[in-house]
């Protein structure tokens, strides 16, 4: 029996693996770093040598709990680790230590917004496990680098609450922002810090039973998730609509071809035989410990955005742009000074433009926040007009230095002396008889031209509102 394809809707859940930015691995003191030569950050524990014993990194627990608190999860007072058995060369012990039935965090969720519609995406759980090594496929063999094996990894699992690829993208973006705010992960996608498995099925809208799901493994870009989902949902709807019977399977996204392909894994491979790891003790967290960590929580983006509107009088949109990146928001707050609106404009135009045109990170931005505040104060005092202020900013960017000194050294101060400006205005009126006539006969735009000429004569330093006033005055007289 075929089902009308137009009635089919997708159900999507995501399992997101996030590498924690601890100094060391989860079970041993080997450093967590991605820039070391292969197989140099390894020891008997992370190589799974017989007789070695894992000892849990307290910081990995703290960062997982912090994440749980940021996502509104319930923190388990008692938690444990289990062994998940499978044979794959990137997993040297032949089992992965993970958490099966007693994860550290349960419940919670993230609010997302797509096309102005807000939805709450529930989180099922967050558990703390170990990453595996990295495989390279060589001709006729595979090569493994175990530096990554044992990196602490959080798996954040959603409920099947997502309806389409846009929501999945919005969820991942919001999640990444929260993780960055929490400082729990470097969130570097190119380094594979965040990797995602997608579960997706289609069924008739309102049906009690979900359709047969496909799992798309190991996505490492959010754009890839978006594209893979768009493809896979279309593929499933077409198949089910044509009366085809889908099988539950694991698929792989081929980014070049833009298609998903079945991975044909053996069913047996999924009998993981979980059991409690006898080498590890239970984790018991006290209420006081959890509350202590809660008190350390940073302000989350949505809350900060609302505060920017309230405290600094910014528009909701501008506040949203600023909080999207924690570093940018911090920079703005430090530079806000007496004129936060001006500071917001500078950050959103000049600072963000420079960042997008260069490889700079906001943390290394050459203009210190105090310098930007001082520059804005010079504009507010009337020492600089906005054009000249941008020039001063360019100098600060290139050479550094105090804006007041730059203005003085280069004679960039605004001319607000009526006599001097009147001189320029008179000259321009005398030299541009035809344009003056145009203006007087009603061509408003002629004024802009005359204004430009006066600014040119002053070499950009005349106070623009004064120029405009004087021009209007003089031109009004016949």
């Amino acid at each position: 029996m075929s089902i009308s394809a137009s009635k089919l809707v997708p159900t999507i859940g995501l399992e997101t693996h996030v590498q924690l930015n601890t100094n060391t691995k989860i079970w041993c003191g080997c450093a967590v770093r991605s820039d070391a030569p292969p197989n140099t950050l390894v020891c008997p524990v992370c190589l799974g040598y017989p007789g070695s014993l894992p000892v849990l990194n307290r910081e990995a627990v703290r960062k997982t709990v912090m994440t749980g608190l940021l996502l509104g999860c319930e923190i388990a007072q008692v938690s444990k680790h289990d062994r998940k058995s499978y044979f794959y060369p990137d997993m040297p012990k032949n089992y992965q230590i993970t958490q099966y039935d007693q994860p550290l965090c349960l419940g919670g969720g993230i609010e997302i917004e797509v096309n102005g519609v807000k939805r709450f995406i529930r989180i099922n759980r967050i558990h703390l496990e170990e990453d595996v090594g990295k495989s390279t496929h060589l001709r006729g063999a595979s090569g493994i680098d175990y530096n990554r094996a044992g990196t602490p990894l959080m798996e954040i699992v959603t409920e099947p609450d997502l309806h389409n690829e846009d929501e999945a993208f919005a969820y991942l973006t919001a999640l990444k922002r929260i993780l960055q705010y929490g400082g729990v992960s470097d969130c570097n996608l190119e380094e594979g810090n965040i990797r995602c498995d997608i579960n997706v099925s289609v069924a008739e809208a309102g049906a009690d039973v979900l359709g047969v799901k496909a799992e798309i493994k190991n996505m490492n870009t959010f754009r890839g998730v978006h594209r893979a989902l768009a493809y896979e949902v279309r593929r499933q709807i077409k198949a089910v609509g044509a009366g085809e019977r889908l099988v539950q399977e694991t698929r792989r996204w081929d980014d070049e071809q833009g298609v998903t392909r079945s991975m044909r894994t053996k069913e047996d491979a999924h009998d993981y035989r979980y059991f409690p790891d006898p080498d590890l003790a239970r984790i018991r967290l006290t209420e006081a410990e959890i509350e202590g960590w809660r008190a350390e929580l940073p302000e989350l983006p949505a809350k900060r955005q609302a505060r920017f509107v309230e405290e600094y009088g910014l528009s909701d949109y501008d506040a949203g742009v600023l909080v999207a990146d924690k570093g940018i928001a911090d920079y703005f707050e430090a530079a806000a000074g007496k004129n936060p609106k001006a500071a917001a404009n500078w950050v959103m135009t000049e600072v963000m433009r420079v960042l997008s045109e260069s490889d700079l990170e906001i943390g290394d931005f050459p203009v210190p926040t105090a310098g930007l505040s001082a520059l804005i104060a010079l504009v507010d005092k009337g020492t600089l007009n906005s054009t000249k202020a941008k020039e001063v900013f360019a100098v600060m960017l290139k050479e550094g230095g105090d804006p007041a000194k730059i203005v003085e050294a280069r004679g960039m101060a605004q001319v607000s002396d009526t006599g001097a400006i009147e001189g320029f205005v008179n000259e321009v009126i005398d030299e541009n008889g035809k344009v003056v006539d145009d203006y007087r006969s009603g061509k408003e735009s002629a004024l802009q031209f005359l204004m430009g000429q006066v600014m040119k004569k002053s070499r950009g330093k005349a106070n623009p509102p004064m120029v405009l006033d004087l021009l209007k005055q003089k031109l009004a007289k016949p």
Partner: protein, 98 residues
């Protein structure tokens, strides 16, 4: 999760999962031995477990942690010496098919 059959151990299946190659005689011998083990453990069924929490570890230890401080790793050469083979500093293994 697969619910394990608690009355019977499928030796062939378990051997396959554990990548152990058994001949017929071994399967027969292990089958009766494992059935005996299972029967022994089944004595527990006679007890009343009402209100008893599952125990994940016989030792009452909790919260065994280490601090997040970097320690020395193995020398690369030493590590590779233990590997079945090496290529470009990587541990060489049979080709994996995804």
């Amino acid at each position: 999760m697969n619910t394990p059959d608690t009355d019977h151990i499928d030796v062939r299946y378990v051997a396959k999962l554990a990548r152990i190659d058994l001949d017929e005689a071994e399967v027969t011998a292990l089958q009766s031995q494992l059935d005996e083990v299972l029967a022994f453990v089944h004595q527990l069924d006679e007890l009343d477990f009402e209100g008893v929490e599952p125990l994940s570890h016989p030792h009452p230890l909790e919260n065994v942690f280490r601090e997040d401080v970097v320690e020395a790793s193995l020398e690369h050469e030493e590590m590779i010496r233990n590997a079945p083979g090496a290529v470009q500093q990587l541990v060489r293994v049979p080709q994996m098919i995804e």
